[in-house]
Amino acid sequence: MNSLTLAIRQEAARLLEEKIVDVVIGFEAGTLPLKAQPAFITRKEEAEKLVFNGFCQNNLAAYLTRFPKEKRLGIICRGCESRAVRALVIEHQHDRDKLYLIGVPCTGIIDWRKIERRVGENTLQAREEGDEVIVTTRDGEHRFRRADVLHDSCARCLHPNPVGADIVLGDPLPEGDPERAWAPVLEFEALPPEERYAYFVQETGRCIRCYACREACPMCYCTECFVDHTAPRWTESMITPGGTQAWHIVRAFHQAGRCVSCGACERACPMDIKMTYLVDKLSYDMMQQYGFEVGASDEKQPPFAAFTLDDRNRFVR
């Protein structure tokens, strides 16, 4: 067990004992190796269940909107989660003074798919040791460098340190490299249009419309999603090309200027569909055009909510 897990358990127990929060949202060991699962701790004794490691896949900020506003929540916040919480507070989804953010600088999430592709499906045990991930299967022990098996979104993470946390456990990490973060968008943009469209069609073609990406996303909290409307029906509700393409286009577009680039959508996808290249383009545009970055400020509204007459000469055609 790492020291971070211990510190988190202590802090969670303290928060519950002193009645600062009603629930602590964190991670506990899952039933399968390589996959920790979200845990909702309400009693101090249960704090012993909490773990924290590179196998914690979910974005915990997604659970913030599922609690009533009166609940005082303690959330374990990595960089992306803390930015999502900030964005949600700006959008009035919870009161900031009813939240207690336990900040944890994050070294990245390990992509179980990358490991499964290398060792097969028979993983018995997995643990981290410094910069290495050690996976035990029936064939024996496999060692991987962390950097090789990080999730793509984490490998190009810009801000691994939590923002606006009430307490930060662990040492701050160096910030990410913007060039690396935006490289996939710029590379995709440089392709000829027909190749871009072909890639989009190929990726969306696998979609089974399970909406796991929506459920995993901290910013997708509408009580009724546009795809669930039946009157009027906005898009085809089947897995036709039209339906899946519309879902991926509009899902991404609704995240414009709100996405925190945590990659939870891709990790949740059972069909392994690449989709961060869609929202990343919108985030890139928002940064280039309006100088807006999610979570950079406590009060700045996202670009689509904050428009001014200063825009007047921006759109000529």
Binding site: R196, Y197, P241, A246, F253, L278, D285, L309, D311, F315
Partner: protein, 146 residues
């Protein structure tokens, strides 16, 4: 492609859009049959879903016409629309849609005849591009009965 192909065009028009009276009358009564007019209360009412549905349904070109920034009937409806729809157009271009299929016109009452110019300009661009192929999943191919 046959010579008889005429592009299908959809015009989203803000109903307060300050066309001069003659232009508005032309829009209401003399619009050619391949151009569909959809009037909305304000450009702010145009959800990107409207645009996407038009494209998926096989529209070859879209013209979105709204008021000048400070002339919005609802004060700032068009400001929000400008940000959203512009970003949406760029996003569709990123996914491989040809540039120029979606066009904006922010028209003032004094600009008489501009809407005709914009429509002619759009039609010329679309004629050069040919019928829409990408993203038009519900389109009926050219040549088949509509």
């Amino acid at each position: 492609m046959s010579d008889k192909w005429t592009p299908r065009i959809v015009v989203f028009q803000c109903q307060y859009c300050l066309y001069s009276e003659a232009d508005q009358k032309w829009m209401d009564t003399q619009l050619p049959p391949h151009i569909k007019l959809i009037q909305v209360p304000c450009t702010g009412r145009i959800s990107p879903l409207f645009v996407l549905n038009a494209i998926q349904g096989g529209t070859d070109g879209i013209l979105i016409s709204g008021c000048q920034p400070e002339k919005c009937h609802y004060k700032e409806g068009n400001l929000g629309a400008r940000r959203q729809l512009d970003a949406f157009r760029r996003f569709l271009t990123y996914l491989g849609l040809e540039e120029g299929r979606i066009r904006f016109a922010w028209i003032d009452v004094s600009e008489r005849g501009r809407i005709q110019q914009e429509l002619a300009g759009l039609e010329k661009t679309i004629q050069a591009m040919g019928p829409i192929t990408r993203l038009a999943t519900r389109a009926i191919p050219v040549g088949e009965k509509r």
